[in-house]
Symmetry: C2
Amino acid sequence: MNGADRLCDTLLVNGVDVCFANPGTSEMHFVAALDRKPQMRCVLGLFEGVVTGAADGYARMADKPAATLLHCGPGMANALANMHNARRAWTPMINVVGDHATYHLQHDAPLTSDIESLARPMSHFVRRIESAQDVGPAIEEAYVASLTLPGVTTVILPADCAWNSLEPAELKPATLPALKSIDGATLREVAAGLRKHGKRAAIMLTGLALREQPMEMAARICAATGAQIFAQMSNGRIQRGVGRVAIPKVYYPVDMALAQLKDVDYLVLVGAQVPVGFFAYPGKPGRLVHEGCEVTALARPGDDLPGAIDALADEIGARKSAPAFIAPPRTEIPALPTGKLDADKACAIVSTLLPENCIVADESVSSGRMFYFDCHSAPQHDYIQLTGGAIGEGIPLAIGAAVACPDRKVVAMQADGSGMYTVQGLWTQAREKLDIVTVIFANRTYQILHGEMRAVGVNDFGRNATLMLNLDEPALDWVQMARGMGVEAARATTAEEFADLFKAALKRKGPFLIEAVI
Amino acid sequence: MNGADRLCDTLLVNGVDVCFANPGTSEMHFVAALDRKPQMRCVLGLFEGVVTGAADGYARMADKPAATLLHCGPGMANALANMHNARRAWTPMINVVGDHATYHLQHDAPLTSDIESLARPMSHFVRRIESAQDVGPAIEEAYVASLTLPGVTTVILPADCAWNSLEPAELKPATLPALKSIDGATLREVAAGLRKHGKRAAIMLTGLALREQPMEMAARICAATGAQIFAQMSNGRIQRGVGRVAIPKVYYPVDMALAQLKDVDYLVLVGAQVPVGFFAYPGKPGRLVHEGCEVTALARPGDDLPGAIDALADEIGARKSAPAFIAPPRTEIPALPTGKLDADKACAIVSTLLPENCIVADESVSSGRMFYFDCHSAPQHDYIQLTGGAIGEGIPLAIGAAVACPDRKVVAMQADGSGMYTVQGLWTQAREKLDIVTVIFANRTYQILHGEMRAVGVNDFGRNATLMLNLDEPALDWVQMARGMGVEAARATTAEEFADLFKAALKRKGPFLIEAVI
């Protein structure tokens, strides 16, 4: 056996059995080893942004990392934007980046680059493998780090470390260290703060705290103390829908977010960051809580977030309280909109028809900004979204979710400008016959930037701004592009057409794309 | 005026009047400033790899840098692979990367990342702008560096440095420092070496040495001394065709390259690197010249390469020698092949029909490996190619060349797997009505990797290797994809169909894509 075999075996013994890949020459021994492991599911992406975005979506739903196979520095460079999103979602991921043989690096061959420098900004953990013998320890270390930091790990695999021989060995699953629990002093301080501030307190959650049970427990604390509850602006995954906590996210527009948080004098963070503006705007604050707001971290990423909430509930004596903010059933199913299609109508139709137990992958950007809030009382579903602002995450995210959950429908809400970044992912959806219905919000513009330009004080656009902000001339034909990659597709220009297509797409299995011309 | 205005003015006063762009919120003031400068040509790419690949193609043909506009670390991350290719081509480029306002970075907002760490491996020069007042000096410094290093420069523009005010000023074009000329001792040493080794010597060129005049002068030296002449394996641009020097490139397959260079005992580098294997292979050498070969650098990148060749010709007394290796006219136009299309037939047809003064943008990878050698006696043309091995350069390279040379036909030789990396570029070709005929070599596989797998000793592929190396199931329909992005397209499955389509494409203006099913 060789180092590449050990790499596969180490992944498999730890239950990592999906590898999203785009290989190159320096990974041929890795590919050959994967070929000897039929129990590993290998999924090809035709661009590395698809690969890491899919690994992100997979792990958010599977709660374990996928491996990726990337080719040298430039291949990983293509993967970085979605590694960035995964990093912001605290998604476990094990990227394996092939590099030249150790002794070949000195020659500065054309594909050579400083992989560590590229990897570090988008990885929580970076490690270069030193030898074939080092492969197993490095991969195990990355696996443990991915689940305990938690986050994105990147392991650099020189070609000779993959092809050199080593002795077979019996491998055992890695032991994961216990997560850090919360000390009593912090619990007492937070409990006192919540009691003191009552309804002018808020709890802000992210990560594993946004699953059904810990969120419900947090809502019991809210019921007992009067506190508000929020999710971060962007989160890896939220379990939601009727009967679960109707948790608001922090708004993206700064003024809306400031209004949303203006009454919060005491903010308890559970894995979350202090809410800040996605961007700075002249004359507007960066922090979205007011200056007098006291902020305290109950738990940080990598801590046992559900455990922290449980412990706080105990401290407060809220375990038996009825949870606040539970989403009630819809009193009536709203009538579907009609007439010329627009973004709001498309969102309303999706929200109304959303199937039970589906996964919503949301990169609708400006078109679907209120869609999340419209779905509090929809049938229960998982909501995964763009986290780091690096557009081009939606199509791959849907791929990963569908690979992780083959029996669940994935509804991908996709802005057109963002979708073009990783449009190649549609081919992977077709090849893997993934059960994804993609809604393209075809407004044929970077709509969000029109708003941002106005925020900058520019209302009349000249030729250059128009050229840079609009996607028309020519209009993208998503139906043809999707079909060109093997995905069935159709176009809707009225709400009726859209509703009919969406209903039909829900009834079938496999990928389908609807171009919603809005 | 503000910092963004100064940025545009500094570019324009130095003749940089093309900006390939994909903007985001942090660049809105830059966009607004560009909107006030109609003399700047702004070209939108729907993905940042298109943006920098196009800037690379532009500068290779225009001999001056384009600017790019990139959005934060993740936007630049998407641009890195083609920055890598540009770096390997020594292409002048000025990347302007927007970042958060200086005072907003402390908040670690979602799009925040370590831009410098990401930029450095793919840039020759990285500089963060400190204030609005610093914008002019920083851009001028980058401009000078781009032309004198020469290479890829990256300037980070915090949003507040763009939006803050500053006083108008009268700007002057930057003064470029004189390039380093070659000292007499080196000239005498190289001249002696060439005389001593005669036909067992070789001159290896890249960069500006591969233009018609310096290459011809190098060929005079060859005629006078008996030396061979080579271009690097990959080069930014070669001026070639009938009546020019028929310069061989170093082969990609290691065994072929070793055979090609086995008789070279003395190698003179003019801007070139010592030839090395693109990858390491077990048991094969990394350097492609034999161990006893003496290697000497006449000139390095950034030196005056044409001047070095002139000086060497003077030293040798070769200025009046008739140049060696001049490509003779074709004695007869070969008959066009017929029957079922394959890669060789498609290449032969393109080579035979190649129009005078066109630009060939080559990312044909395995399909066109011998195409270059078949075109020595074709009508005169410029040849630009993938340089750094980061696939996804071809479609953008053609864009940039067509923007730089609107009166010349661009023939893009494009492998299908590589083409998918930046397929979004087809839309820019349509929007800008660029005169490009793209030939897609649709072998529906990463063909190069089949050879590499065999080199690794794997001849029978199982399911996982097949999944990762083949692009079929489903086959990509390039005609639909191209039309979906506004580019007219057609498919050829026979040599006759291909020849007819290629002839028709040459007669019309504007983008056209031929899917050559091989």
